[in-house]
């Protein structure tokens, strides 16, 4: 079973990298651009057939290591 995890900085945490990317795209003429938040992406494959159990395990991975919950949010999606 395969999952994707995206980790991004929380809304109230400044994301200077995202801001720079946003400014650069705006300089390239993408002027309807509203905002950009930069993050990290993981693809995780598990030896597990039960989706609930698998999701729980991935959640646990996010909480224990992949995301720092003080500054980051994560989102798990089955792929």
């Amino acid at each position: 079973m395969k999952f994707s995890v995206t980790v991004t900085l929380k809304k109230d945490v400044l994301d200077p990298q995202g801001k720079v990317v946003q400014n650069t795209l705006q300089n390239l003429g993408m002027d309807n651009l509203k905002s950009i938040r930069q993050g990290k992406y993981f693809e995780i494959e598990l030896n597990e057939n039960n989706q609930n159990d698998a999701e729980k395990k991935v959640e646990d991975m996010c909480k224990k290591l992949l995301a720092n919950l003080i500054i980051e949010d994560y989102k798990v999606t089955k792929i």
């Binding site: 945490v13 990298q17 290591l65 992949l66 720092n68 003080i70 500054i71």
Partner: protein, 225 residues
């Protein structure tokens, strides 16, 4: 007094801190991160560097290493813990210190001597300094932008847990004297019991007039007595 310096792959300030500690008559031991037992220590130092190449987040992987469980146990038993630079990042990743170190606001690696002010000089780490004393200490980091939630920030102020703040040479604490975007110019903090200090500046680089100045020496002489 006995000290231990934890060494991770990618630590690069471990020998500097060992030299500083030995200069101050600490009996120091280096402890590799794969060890599962800590030698008996009065002080444990988590040194600066780029543990595990800063993979994932600075300090994240080192914060889950084998020896860290022992450091957490020792900290809970009241042992003195000092985390410098990457060591500070590791201590926040373990949860021994609250908050996090974000990427510098200007997205640049900053390596320069900056002024910091001693905010709390009543702890075992800083008792040899005067209150509001201005020190010139080197910083060298990419993620030193201290961030925490509003309730912790309130606790830091209320319980006098801010060790150092960035300031200018006259001691003024302002946005202009903030090198990395840290909340309230914070350069170092204590835990509630004040036996753990995490700081971004490098006091171990300031113990010899020949190469810099001696502004860092009182931190170690505070600890030895």
């Amino acid at each position: 007094m006995k000290s231990s310096v934890i060494v991770f792959p990618g630590s690069n300030c471990d020998r500097d801190i060992a030299v500083a500690l030995e200069k101050m008559q600490f009996k120091n031991q280096m402890v590799w991160h794969k060890e599962t037992k800590l030698p008996k220590s009065d002080l444990i130092v988590v040194p600066g560097g780029f543990s595990y190449g800063d993979y994932l987040r600075s300090g994240a992987i080192a914060g889950k290493s084998l020896i860290i469980n022992e450091v957490v146990k020792a900290a809970n038993d009241g042992c003195l813990i000092l985390g410098i630079c990457n060591g500070f990042q590791i201590l926040t990743e373990t949860g021994l210190l609250k908050g996090a170190l974000l990427r510098n606001e200007n997205l640049k690696f900053i390596n320069k001597d900056v002024n910091i002010k001693v905010i709390n000089n009543t702890t075992k780490f800083t008792k040899k300094y005067k209150k509001n004393q201005i020190l010139k200490i080197n910083i060298a980091h990419n993620e030193g932008n201290f961030f925490t939630d509003p309730s912790h920030l309130q606790e830091l102020n209320k319980e006098n847990l801010i060790a150092f703040k960035y300031c200018d040479e006259n001691g003024e604490i302002s946005k202009k004297s903030n090198p990395n975007g840290s909340m309230e110019n914070i350069a170092g903090i204590y835990n509630l019991k004040k036996n753990i200090l995490g700081m971004m500046p490098h006091p171990e680089r300031m113990v010899d007039e020949l190469i810099s100045n001696k502004d860092g020496i009182n931190l170690f002489s505070s600890l030895i007595n």
